[in-house]
């Protein structure tokens, strides 16, 4: 089982850089404990920190890669995890297509042009598709949470993003600088890939 030190560094690696609060948001853990774990990571040379912001160091990355196989041995060997991940991949393909449709509108001649969001029917259709995928995502996260409880936090985070989209805050579909649906989904993907020891496969 992964310990707190591993988890804190793992979550930091998923985010790349962040403060204890951001790492706690991924782990759903206690901010003080995580702050202590991050300080310990800095002391061990696994992370660099300044002004409360932390980053995983190259040494920390190696350490993580060495620890993962053992820490997640059960998870990796569990057919339920593999099956849940296959479902995740299916939703992932749909979602990436959806984010593209959100940003680029099909025009005549097979061309795509940036979505200026002037067509509310088009946007509403995509928000509706996002809702359908969100419902699938919730089911998959329930499966993951049964295997690894902390992954349940992503359900809350995705739900928050979706709820904002529903309320008309459309940046929360795929905005890159905020905890948009895409941002959270992408962190979840990174989290799962690291736990499972897999490589990212990009859409063709």
């Amino acid at each position: 089982m992964p310990d707190q030190d591993l988890l804190a560094l793992h979550a930091l690696a998923v985010k790349k850089a962040g403060n204890a609060e951001a790492v706690a948001a991924i782990l759903g853990g206690n901010e003080e404990e995580i702050s202590a774990a991050l300080d310990a990571a800095v002391a061990a040379g696994h992370a660099a920190g300044a002004n409360g912001m932390f980053m995983v160091s190259p040494g920390g990355r190696e350490w993580l890669d060495e620890r993962y196989p053992e820490a997640y041995a059960d998870f990796r060997a569990d057919p339920a995890a593999t099956e849940a991940y296959e479902r995740f991949e299916r939703i992932n393909r749909e979602l990436l297509g959806l984010f593209t449709d959100w940003q680029m509108v099909p025009a005549a001649g097979g061309e795509r042009v940036p979505n200026d969001h002037s067509d509310s029917d088009y946007d509403a259709g995509i928000v509706d598709r996002l809702g359908a995928q969100h419902e699938r995502a919730e089911k998959v996260l329930d499966r993951f949470a049964e295997l690894e409880q902390r992954l349940g936090i992503y359900k809350t985070r995705l739900d928050d993003a979706y709820d904002r989209v529903l309320a008309g805050d459309h940046d929360y579909v795929s905005g890159a600088r905020i905890d948009s649906y895409h941002t959270v989904w992408f962190e979840l993907h990174e989290d799962l890939l690291r736990m499972l020891g897999r490589e990212r496969e990009e859409a063709p």
């Binding site: 005549a108 002037s118 067509d119 809702g131 699938r136 905005g175 905020i178 992408f186 990009e202 063709p204």
Partner: protein, 590 residues
């Protein structure tokens, strides 16, 4: 509108029922029929029935169901087909249709009424076994997903209906009905039930929409473009969506069906092919396009099918168009009197204008330039800088950089923000890099090939995110001359006439500088009230925020007579914003 046993409305266009009764889609079908346009016949369970359904704890009253059956008989008689059987079977689609569209409602189920016998009849009629089988598979799949909540893969080409049924059974423990009437009843109940889905409720809560409404159900006959000769399917634009030419533009796929044209799996023919094959259908189609364009006051994108020589319009909507076409069509529609000039100015978004006016690489420049890599054009625009292979370097660099990565992960977002452009080795137009760069407006080329970025590091590059090419060196871009863009000069002229604010190039000593006042353009939209306060009593203004709708509105509300153009801002874009917001304000005042 004809009542069938009171509980169902036949959408025949004799009258156009209110949207509060039959919903938006129902109204639109009746409206098109009332114009004499050929639309497949349909019937509607009005919104009232949705309320009854919920009052009856999720049951369809028998009287309503009997009315549906009578309505289906009416469709059968009108078309000479039989629902769920016969030599020429009738298939129907079922859609939801509320007065206000909202997420979370069940949208559409197609091909209801299919059975093994109907599949065989379809195969005979179309001479296409694969089509008949896949129609059956798609129905079972769609029913499984939308009615039973199955999470299963799209059926493959080789799948059989029984295999898909088995998948649904495994996932949900439930059966997809083989009886056409059971299929119909279950889908109608699902539509009504979806009014109370968690998502629909959440949406209504957010937007303060009453829970007392409901959705109508539209049951419409399906037509097929692949049943025999003189059949096919196509798309028609009432004018050219690529360049805005006032000529109809379209594609025709003989013996094609449904998604065949839009999916890109088949190669459709130009519209002239329809003209030579079936001139009467072509003529009727063009008349319909003209009529719909005039009624809507906008370019229309019309999906149509010809079944055994008979034309049917399946859907019409405002056409997506290129930025060039948006300018041309807006000006032409105003010249033709379909819309006024203020509306024409509002039809072109500031983003479209920015794209039209974006500096570009000329052929003279690119012809002599060394191409370093080619990939998928993921975010349009041209930008250059020194290639850096990791995000930290992009963040720390003083000058312009281009971020080059094998692939991107969340850790690269900060680097993508700092860089002017992005290049990746793996991934396509839906990859993470593509999605993020478009959100940030950074030109990007993705999928340039394994290992291709290694040799770029440290070199100066120019990324053309419109064509998907990476060039060596910093290439010079060329400004666009408005007279080269059809319609643009008129549009700018109208914006000047409509904008009460002048836009000048001269530096004005007494201009209020919004950027200096702390109202610079960050991530979120600026606050109009705060801007108005900052501009109070000013004789002139400048600032990045004025390029936004909120900024233009604040300038108008504060009564500032002059705006100074900043370097990098386009006078035409500023004028367009000001004219648009002026029109919006006038409309709001009534």
């Amino acid at each position: 509108m004809t009542a069938v046993a009171d509980r169902v409305v036949v959408l025949d266009g004799v009258t156009v029922p209110d949207r509060d009764v039959v919903g938006n889609k129902g109204r639109s079908i009746a409206w098109m029929l009332s114009l004499g346009l050929p639309v497949p016949p349909a019937l509607c369970l009005p919104i009232e029935e949705c309320r009854r359904f919920h009052a009856a704890a999720g049951e369809l009253e028998d009287e309503a169901w009997q009315s549906v059956l009578a309505g289906v008989t009416g469709l059968e008689e009108k078309l000479g087909r039989e629902f769920g059987g016969g030599d020429h079977p009738l298939l129907v689609s079922v859609r939801s249709g509320a007065a206000v569209s909202m997420p979370g409602m069940m949208d559409t189920v197609l091909n209801l009424g299919i059975t093994d016998e109907v599949q065989a009849a379809l195969a005979r009629l179309s001479g296409d076994q694969v089509f008949a089988r896949s129609t059956h598979c798609r129905f079972v799949h769609q029913f499984g997903q939308t009615v039973l909540g199955a999470d299963i893969e799209e059926p493959g080409e080789e799948a059989t209906p029984e295999q898909v049924r088995e998948e649904v059974r495994r996932d949900t423990g439930e059966e997809v009905p083989t009886d056409p009437h059971e299929q119909l009843k279950a889908v109608i109940k699902t539509v009504f039930g979806s009014w109370s889905s968690r998502r629909a409720k959440a949406y209504r809560r957010h937007w303060g929409i009453s829970e007392d409404g409901g959705t109508a159900v539209i049951v419409q006959a399906m037509v097929f473009g692949n049943l025999g000769e003189e059949s096919g399917t196509g798309v028609l634009f009432s004018r050219n969506p690529l360049n805005g030419d006032p000529e109809p533009y379209g594609e025709w796929l003989p013996k094609g069906q449904g998604e065949d044209v839009v999916s890109g799996t088949h190669n459709p023919l130009p519209l002239e092919a329809l003209a030579s094959q079936m001139p009467a259908a072509q003529e009727r189609l063009l008349e319909a396009a003209k009529l719909l364009e005039r009624e809507h006051g906008d370019v229309q994108d019309i999906e149509f099918t010809v079944e055994r020589g008979e034309l049917f319009l399946l859907q019409t909507r405002s056409a997506k168009r290129s930025p060039l076409a948006a300018v041309r069509a807006a000006v032409d529609l105003a010249d033709e009197g379909a819309i006024d000039r203020a509306e024409a100015v509002r039809r072109v978004s500031a983003e479209q204008l920015a794209t039209v006016l974006a500096p570009r690489l000329t052929e003279a420049v690119t012809a002599g330039a060394e191409v370093l890599a080619r990939g998928t054009a993921a975010c349009p625009g041209v930008a250059g800088g020194v290639a850096v292979s990791d995000s930290d370097a992009a963040c720390e660099a003083e000058g312009d950089t281009v971020l080059t990565r094998p692939t991107t992960s969340p850790e690269d977002v900060s680097g993508m923000i700092a860089a002017r452009a992005v290049v990746t080795e793996r991934g396509g137009s839906t990859s993470h890099a593509a999605v993020v760069t478009r959100a940030l407006g950074r030109p990007s080329v993705v999928g340039v090939g394994e290992g291709a970025t290694a040799e770029l590091s440290g070199r100066e590059l120019t990324v053309d995110g419109s064509s998907g090419v990476v060039y060596a060196g910093i290439l010079e871009t060329e400004e666009v001359d408005p007279s080269d863009v059809p319609g643009l000069e008129e549009l700018i002229e109208w914006a000047v006439e409509l904008s009460p604010v002048a836009v000048v190039d001269a530096q004005l000593a007494d201009a209020v500088d919004l950027d200096a006042a702390g109202a610079s353009l960050e991530e979120s939209a600026p606050d109009v009230e705060a801007l108005v306060k900052a501009l109070d009593g000013a004789s002139a203004a400048r600032g990045s925020a004025i390029a936004t709708a909120e900024g233009a509105r604040a300038v108008l509300l504060a009564g500032v007579p002059t705006v100074e153009r900043l370097p990098g801002q386009q006078a035409a874009a500023l004028l367009l914003r000001l004219a648009q917001e002026k029109a919006n304000l006038e409309e709001e005042e009534g």
